[in-house]
Point group: D2
Chain length 343, copies 4
């Protein structure tokens, strides 16, 4: 079927390519003409403006937005007046599900259908397929199922779950890699939690590897002053682990095998010191929203929160708090801060 794509960054570009491989017709638009041109060269129908884009789509239109969350409303403000009763707008980016609920209600009052799709898979999605978590009206979601099926990995790519019943298999498309999760916002809610989990998983590996990295601390000389906790047993920390090999062996038969571990091992193979990274870790919204939803629900999320806060601290947002601590220590104990060791 025909799909219009607005936003041709890496994600939008790859999704269009995957859709065209699946036999679908794509009309594309991006504010950067070179992004349009690239996909036009691969067979998509390009357009130089939102107006042209809309005009090239057949009613009822299906328009997929693949944009940073912060600009979706701005694009919608330009796009919606161009649409007709029965058209469908899909937000496939990382919008906050609160916005989906609001937009879904606003658009339906104008006769436009709104679908929110949480999309996971990253730059590997082109080949591996995308995991799609979908919110919206049932009929609209079903109407779009050829698109979802083409973007998703498909059933054969992962081993079936032994306990999954035939009834369950028949009742949903989960095994194809896309799922209608519920009404407006449900797709981004599930994707939000997915990303919250992702933060936690990533931090678990990162903390563990950091422990291995420092396992030779007993070999270094240890200062004996009142500002430094003594290391009682330096003989327990004399290991020089090869993190490339450790992460590689964990990929085979262990309980912690995962795609994130595959990526981690491969990054360590490329550079065991990860020296091109400074360790300033961004977060793009979903991790925070996950915690806020959990708090609204009174659900404890110590692991997911710790993962989020680690990112905040990696960007030095704990600096003033740490100064307060040093000031207190100076106050009650006369403690003077130790400078950073010479590196």
């Amino acid at each position: 079927m025909q799909l219009g794509m607005v936003g041709l960054g890496r994600m939008g570009n790859y999704m269009v390519q995957r859709l065209m491989r699946g036999g679908h017709e794509c009309v594309v638009y991006d504010a950067r003409p070179e992004s349009v041109a690239e996909l036009a060269g691969l067979g998509a129908t390009g357009s130089a403006s939102l107006e042209e884009f809309v005009s090239k789509l057949t009613h009822p239109r299906a328009i997929w937005l693949m944009l940073p969350a912060a600009i979706v409303d701005k694009v919608l403000a330009s796009l919606v007046p161009l649409l007709q009763n029965g058209d469908i707008v899909i937000d496939g980016g990382n919008s906050y599900y609160h916005d989906d609920i609001r937009r879904g209600a606003e658009l339906i009052s104008k006769g436009i259908h709104y679908v929110d799709v949480g999309t996971s898979g990253g730059v590997f999605g082109l080949e591996r397929g995308y995991c799609l978590m979908i919110g919206g009206e049932k009929g609209t979601v079903q109407h779009l199922s050829p698109i979802f099926a083409a973007l998703a990995p498909g059933a054969g790519t992962t081993e079936a779950s032994p306990n999954r019943t035939a009834e369950a298999v028949a009742a949903s498309t989960a095994e194809q890699g896309y799922l209608h999760c519920g009404p407006h916002g449900a797709g981004h809610f599930v994707k939000m939690v997915h990303n919250g989990i992702e933060y936690g998983l990533m931090a678990a590996y990162a903390e563990g590897l950091n422990i291995l990295k420092h396992a030779n601390i007993g070999a270094a000389s240890h200062v004996a002053d009142a500002e430094t906790a003594p290391l009682a047993h330096p003989e327990h920390f004399q290991y020089d682990f090869n993190l490339q090999d450790v992460s590689e062996v964990w990929r085979r038969g262990s309980v912690i095998t995962s795609w994130l571990l595959d990526l981690t091992a491969d990054a360590l193979h490329a550079d065991p010191a990860l020296s091109k990274y400074a360790g300033r870790v961004s977060d793009s919204g979903e991790g925070r929203w996950t915690i806020m939803a959990a708090i609204d629900e009174s659900v404890p999320t110590p692991v997911l929160s710790a993962a989020l806060y680690g990112r905040f601290s990696s960007r030095d947002n704990d600096e003033f708090a740490n100064k307060v601590l040093s000031a207190m220590r100076a106050g009650f104990g006369g403690h003077v801060e130790k400078p950073a060791p010479k590196s």
Copy 2:
């Protein structure tokens, strides 16, 4: 080659079976004669006592202990006097690496070689192979490599890491699923951290699923009193997610695919309410030791710690602390505890 196995619980039993499938000869012992008999029926050489067990092994003996960490020293006290110069003892259980360092030194003074092996794979290891993390002397570990190779999954079972160089592949056995990590204790150190990570991964999924589980909290009526935090936007929490489908779709193409997710999805397929579990979660040592090692190293592990503490709290070990909190609230605000809702 020949291997003696002491401790024929689920893990020991399966490992013997896998070794025999690999063409190795196994002599087995367990305090429970029926466990010995079961494996004897499958082709192992049974023994009725440690003495008989040792006598049936050819010098230099290779003896694998697969025992709860708490009883390894007791068994070693009986076993070691029966051994000869050059024999090898392998601890494949979940011992604390501190004990490996101590035991390795004690045994080498008696001419006995000691190897510590962290073993991951659980009940699936028989078919899937075990991920083996090994500590000990290089020559001894190399001598045992046929055993390790038979237990491990083998190279073909997992896709190669694109960035892993041929030199790296040639230099270690990581791709076969077993790895000599370093001197005494190194195997259990790496396994300890593996399990620490495992706790973190598990908790990340569990917390995320718990958020989804409570996503319909807005549908319930909400008490308006000074003891209850108001839910400002009940319209944001009206979702009845199907956790079976969600966990299933995440298995396909998402960033959070993993073996633990496979198991979680399958558990939910078997029973979406997980009603046969009370939610009292055990921990068997490695998670704790991971945190202690991290603290000795001054490495922050907020995620792995939170995962561990969640288990402690699941067993109500936070009870007195919570009573202290309620007592303080009564003290400064006259707050009275709200009883648990009728279920």
Copy 3:
């Protein structure tokens, strides 16, 4: 001066009493006539309806609401139509500062001034005075200063800070125990963070006392199975601490002296087992809002979050997450949950 008080629960009642002791005239209203009658008996002017309440106040009226956060908007909807240009509404409860920003703007468009006051002090405030954190327009706040001064503890009650300059003392009323913190919402923002800190402080004491409570764990027999982490050194945990005495001694000269410690010690004196508490700890909003504000600011708050989550878990909101963990453990290791010990 004259003040009208709506909401005569414990907090409102005591504040009226303290104001009358300070020579102020109070007009009071509450939906429960007996609450009105009690204060009328102490010299306040009672009223049987909001209409009567408003009619008894002199223009420009100063009306203090002391209500659960969840019902403030409802009361405002009835009250505001009765007011005149120039009247002042003060929300002294625990409202979310978002609501203050909204209400402040709404009311100013009707000629009504809005002031938000975060009030700390609890049931001891009647004697000890209340710490008041105030948001609103400068002129309005200054107009109300006699009220704030009467409610606050006053300058002499706490030792002066040695480093506080005379200029700083002259420039604010902080030393009197009340402070104009900024525009609308500033008072409840500061109170919100105050309560967030309070949660953290409380949890720190509670966790520490819980460690002392379990310091004799080495005296109990310890199970040696694969589901139980071994206690390597039971000789390190043979202490039967008297928590009454410990909390009492900490009140004298230690770094951790505080009013919360005073309350904790006294609660332990009343009952060292705290047996009248079940350990289900409520949270009333500010702790959550603190975390949400921190996340919006990208500020890490691991301690304050952990304190909040401890309360969620105390009310068993971690139950499904824990079941997921047990299900995973059953999945990969065949682990069976251990039942709770007989108590």
Copy 4:
């Protein structure tokens, strides 16, 4: 009575001064002759060597060590051979209670009594008195009570707990500010937990003040890219709080009044930006040991751990973990690290 003091750093020096004010006779030794000379000038009996120090003390000697934990054993190795049956050694520093248990047993076998004293009070102890938590044999502790009473604040300095019974008051010295907590190690165990709590309290204030510090984040322009979480409501973060005034007002009548808050407010009065601190926060042992003890006891301590880890991260020990996170993000999403903003 007579007391010998070894270790005349800030703590040892002040304790000697306070003891002399209380009428006690002090013999002092330190490896730095100038430290000895200073106290000799104030009336203490100086000594130039451990031998001279011991010779100037009357049998049975009472010798107080006030040394960094890491060198106590070294000093004991020199000191103990000079002692006689019935002499008493007191470790008043911050030793690990495990060491107390070991030392207590070793010394008693030589006829020497060992007492461990956890000492809180910092540089203010000279005037304010020290809170003393004591472990050891009952008779020895009672013999030393004049010393403890002189060092402690004394009963009148803090208001009595209303619920503390006369029996409880009579049964212990807690109200004087010193307490015999139990056998060897009990004093340092209680002090260890005291410091663990201290870390938590400090972090709670620091996190809260950091939230206030960033409360004007909405006034700054906010980047709209896929690497930056959008700030949905900048209007909620427009506050420029005066942290000097806020911390000052909290000292009066609020629930969070404490000595640590007094110190914090005063540090902010001296310099609201705390610009002389870099925010690298040391930890000196007790915080770590607290967590390790809690883990051995299976007691959850999320708040105290988070406080400890914040210190580790303040010293950049999370760096490699953060690099792993950035490497993963690059792997699955092609995300490029954003550099630190220009300051």
